[in-house]
C-alpha cells in the first residue's frame, strides 16, 4: 500500500470509531457556524421587514447576473470537492489532487467575481461610512442594507479564504500520499466545511440579490 499508516489514538477502540468521532466533532463545529450565520440572517430579516421598500430598492444595486454566475461557480466547486472525497475514498491519489485543484480554482473564481463586485460598490459610493452616497430619500436604510451586505458576504468570503488555505494544505498532503481508502478524514472534513460555505451562499443569494427584484 502506497499510503502511510495512520495511527489510532489510544482513547479510541479502532480506526472506525476515530473516524466517527472526527465527523461528529466537525458537525458540532458546523452547528456553531449555522447559528453564527443564522444570527446575521435573522438581523437581516428583522431590518428587511422594518424597511421592505428601502431594502428592495437598495438590492437593485446588486448585479443579479454576477450573483447567479457565482452561485453556479460555488455549486460546481461543491461537486468537485465531493468528487475529491470520492477519489480519496476509492484510493485515487491523482484524482484527489485534480479535484482539489479544480475546487480551489472555482473557489478563487468566486472570490475574483466577488472582489470585482466589491470594487464596483466602492466606486459607486455604496460602502457604508462617511463616503456613502446614495440617491433617494431612503439613504439611511440603504446604508443599513449595504452594511449587512458587506458583513454577510465579507464573513462568507473570509470562510472561503480559510477554505482555500486548507485546500492548499490538503494538496500537499495528498501529494505526499497521506490519504487513501483507510484514512482520508481531513479530506472529508474539509469537504463538510466547504459544502457548509456553499449552503450559506445558497441562502445569501436569494436574500441579498433576488427578493424584491421584479
Amino acid at each position: 500500500m502506497a499510503e502511510l499508516a495512520h495511527p489510532v489514538a489510544h482513547h479510541f477502540d479502532d480506526a472506525e470509531q476515530q473516524h466517527e468521532a472526527g465527523q461528529l466533532g466537525m458537525w458540532v463545529f458546523l452547528v456553531t457556524e449555522i447559528l453564527f450565520f443564522g444570527g446575521m440572517f435573522t438581523a437581516y430579516v428583522v431590518y428587511r421587514s422594518l424597511y421592505p421598500d428601502a431594502f428592495a430598492h437598495a438590492s437593485h444595486h446588486l448585479d443579479v447576473r454576477l450573483g447567479t454566475i457565482n452561485t453556479v461557480v460555488l455549486i460546481s466547486s461543491s461537486v468537485t470537492m465531493a468528487l475529491a472525497v470520492h477519489a480519496a475514498q476509492t484510493g485515487s491519489r491523482r484524482g484527489t489532487l485534480v479535484w482539489l485543484i479544480l475546487t480551489a480554482l472555482l473557489g478563487t473564481t468566486f472570490l475574483g467575481i466577488k472582489s470585482y463586485e466589491y470594487a464596483h460598490k466602492f466606486h459607486e459610493g455604496l460602502v457604508p461610512g462617511p463616503h456613502f452616497t446614495y440617491p433617494g430619500p431612503d439613504a439611511p436604510q440603504a446604508q443599513l442594507f449595504f452594511g449587512l451586505y458587506f458583513a454577510m458576504t465579507g464573513v462568507h468570503a473570509l470562510h472561503m479564504v480559510i477554505g482555500l488555505g486548507i485546500l492548499a494544505w490538503l494538496m500537499r498532503e495528498t501529494r505526499r500520499g497521506r490519504f487513501g481508502p483507510a484514512y482520508h478524514t481531513p479530506v472529508e472534513l474539509t469537504g463538510l466545511y466547504w459544502h457548509f460555505v456553499d449552503i450559506v451562499w445558497i441562502f445569501l443569494f436569494p436574500f441579498l440579490y433576488l427578493i424584491g427584484r421584479h
Binding site: Q23, V31, L35, V45, V64, S78, H86, Q89
Partner: protein
C-alpha cells in the same frame, strides 16, 4: 471501514438538480408573484441546502448521532428565527377593524433604539 462511498452518479444528479433550482429561483425573482415569490425562493433555498446536507455532506448515509447533531442545530436556528419573527409580526402588523382595545400609538412599532418604520435613521450623536 464501513463508511458509505456515495456513487459519482448520485453527485452528478444532485448537481443537475441544484443547477435547475438555481435557474428556477432566478426566474421566480423576475416575475411578479407578490408575497408568494419570497416563499418560493426561500423554499427553493431550503430544498437546495437539504440536498447538499444529505448527499454532498453524506448525512443521508451517516450515523444517527450525526442526524441528531444536525437536526439539533437546525432546530435551534428555527427557534431563534420563529420567536424573533413572531415578535416582529405582533409589533408591525396593525390590527384592522374596530376593536375594544385602542390601536397602539406609532411609537409602539419602534423597537428599542430603532426608528419607526419609514422614518429615516437619526445621525449618530457624538
Amino acid at each position: 471501514m464501513s463508511e458509505h462511498v456515495v456513487p459519482v452518479r448520485a453527485y452528478l444528479t444532485v448537481f443537475a438538480v441544484l443547477l435547475l433550482l438555481t435557474a428556477a429561483t432566478t426566474w421566480v425573482a423576475f416575475i411578479d408573484l407578490g408575497r408568494l415569490s419570497v416563499v418560493i425562493m426561500l423554499a427553493i433555498a431550503v430544498v437546495k441546502a437539504t440536498l447538499v446536507v444529505l448527499f454532498f455532506m453524506h448525512v443521508f448515509y451517516s450515523s444517527r448521532l450525526t442526524w441528531l447533531v444536525v437536526s439539533t442545530g437546525c432546530a435551534m436556528l428555527l427557534l431563534m428565527v420563529v420567536f424573533i419573527a413572531g415578535d416582529m409580526i405582533v409589533r408591525l402588523v396593525p390590527t384592522d377593524g374596530p376593536s375594544e382595545v385602542a390601536s397602539p400609538p406609532p411609537e409602539a412599532f419602534s423597537i428599542g433604539a430603532l426608528p419607526s418604520p419609514g422614518r429615516p435613521l437619526a445621525p449618530p450623536e457624538h
